[in-house]
Symmetry: C2
Subunit: 315 residues, 2 copies
Amino acid sequence: MQPKLQKNKTITVECPATIANLVCGFDILGLALNNPQDIMELTLTDEPGIRITHTDAHPLPTDPLHNVAGVALLELMKEANDPSLGFDMMIDKRIKPGSGLGSSAASSAGAVVAANLLLGNRFSNEDLVRFAMAGEKLASGVKHADNITPCIYGGVTLIRSIFPLDIIQLDSPPLYVSVVHPQIEVKTSDARQILRKEVLLKDAIKQWGNIAGLVAGFMKHDHQLISRSLEDVIIEPVRSILIPGFDEVKKSCKDEGALGGGISGSGPSIFMLSTEEKTAIEVEKIMIDIYTRLGIDFKTYVTTINTDGVKLINN
Amino acid sequence: MQPKLQKNKTITVECPATIANLVCGFDILGLALNNPQDIMELTLTDEPGIRITHTDAHPLPTDPLHNVAGVALLELMKEANDPSLGFDMMIDKRIKPGSGLGSSAASSAGAVVAANLLLGNRFSNEDLVRFAMAGEKLASGVKHADNITPCIYGGVTLIRSIFPLDIIQLDSPPLYVSVVHPQIEVKTSDARQILRKEVLLKDAIKQWGNIAGLVAGFMKHDHQLISRSLEDVIIEPVRSILIPGFDEVKKSCKDEGALGGGISGSGPSIFMLSTEEKTAIEVEKIMIDIYTRLGIDFKTYVTTINTDGVKLINN
């Protein structure tokens, strides 16, 4: 049966920010946030091709071939194999590009989830991850899925393998997330560049102990195990050098009672998980104090884990 | 309150074989088996010191300072801090030393669990792991806990960290385990020696994806996820060279329907996990055929995961 197309219909979706890597889970773990979220409107039209407009102030390209949402949507259209398909896309980007909060993933994921809704859900979530990865490749040069996946599925997700794609949704307790985005530039490509190609086996063993502990901690809803496992001996010691204030933020927030945290994605944002809202708010205050003192512009959020992923907000 | 000592009482315990490493979980994961198991008798006596006898044919040292069970028990006695304590120990070793099935761990763990029972359970399981690790240090030169821990706790266990010791019990579905012990010598110290000190970051990432998948697979009782995650890109490619027939055993057993498996501990035993008993028996036949054809002496087992750990079998 041919899925029902919703021609000339406009839908609006919310596309959550995401935290990739989750400290010890470099390239494999991620979670979605309830704030910030992009807003995206998509219309299925009679005019073939993609037309992109931005209502935000970010100087992002509107040529579909140079826009992450455009590239992701083209990937979906290629597989849909219907040359008559056309889309008008309006993006209100509220997740700042370069923040380390999955801004490009939100656009790529939002575009393909919205398009799939308009095309009668002909593709699976796993297909949508595959399409959206084309956007990530444009943004960072690498087809990674650790922002895309939580953005589409919601919650905490594990990418066991990227080729072939193997996605596992992990149960987790409700947690509060404090985020600070110090407004300095850390390019994903630079952040990848400074990593060593080889790591000590003994460090790798520590890391996989922590990853195993973190997965078990989420699934058992064991806050203290999550806390003990939020330790990264491989990536953070290198990348944190690019983020002024990182060590102080991390230490002070943990002293305040945060379970732990680290660099969001490849930075510069820093996130901290807490069991209680009041701790998360105290943690935000610490973040504000430190970056105010350092004289670096910043933005903070206190939010929770988003369990929906990209979501229709009108119909 | 002083715990009640059971002077001149003899107790008998069963001490299970264990599989360390669990393919991708090098140094952190392990599970206990219902077969083979050592039998150990321990008597708390009025004569200070430790006296060890063996009823098996293995030429193991009986000097407590050179016997893994003796060394583990001495560690416990040191902490018990009672110079009047004395033990007679009788070991019937049914787990062949050097098999890769945790023979030394069974002795070390059995000794301290039995002693703790006679001393009125004054120590925690975590204490017992600490004591028994002294036995592992004597056996292999390294204080590892990935056989000791499942031997004491039973089931599938994760050592998130060894210093400080952080043990997590993982739920798992009931599984059948087929084991072949090709009777060639692979020394734990040699098996450690041939590992590279550095690994590629990209391989480490694959490995931790699999570890995360394996932990999630056990906890979700997801057999197919367990199967997909039983892949080791770091240790097995190096160590399997020491085990003739390894590649053929692994491939043929997986073709037969085993979920997967690999080297038990540092070898030479090979284990395979299966969902159904009949698959596990077919897998054992394949193991028998291959080692018969290769002209290498071997022993096989078809068993299940032991969920008790070291267990009192009389009182």
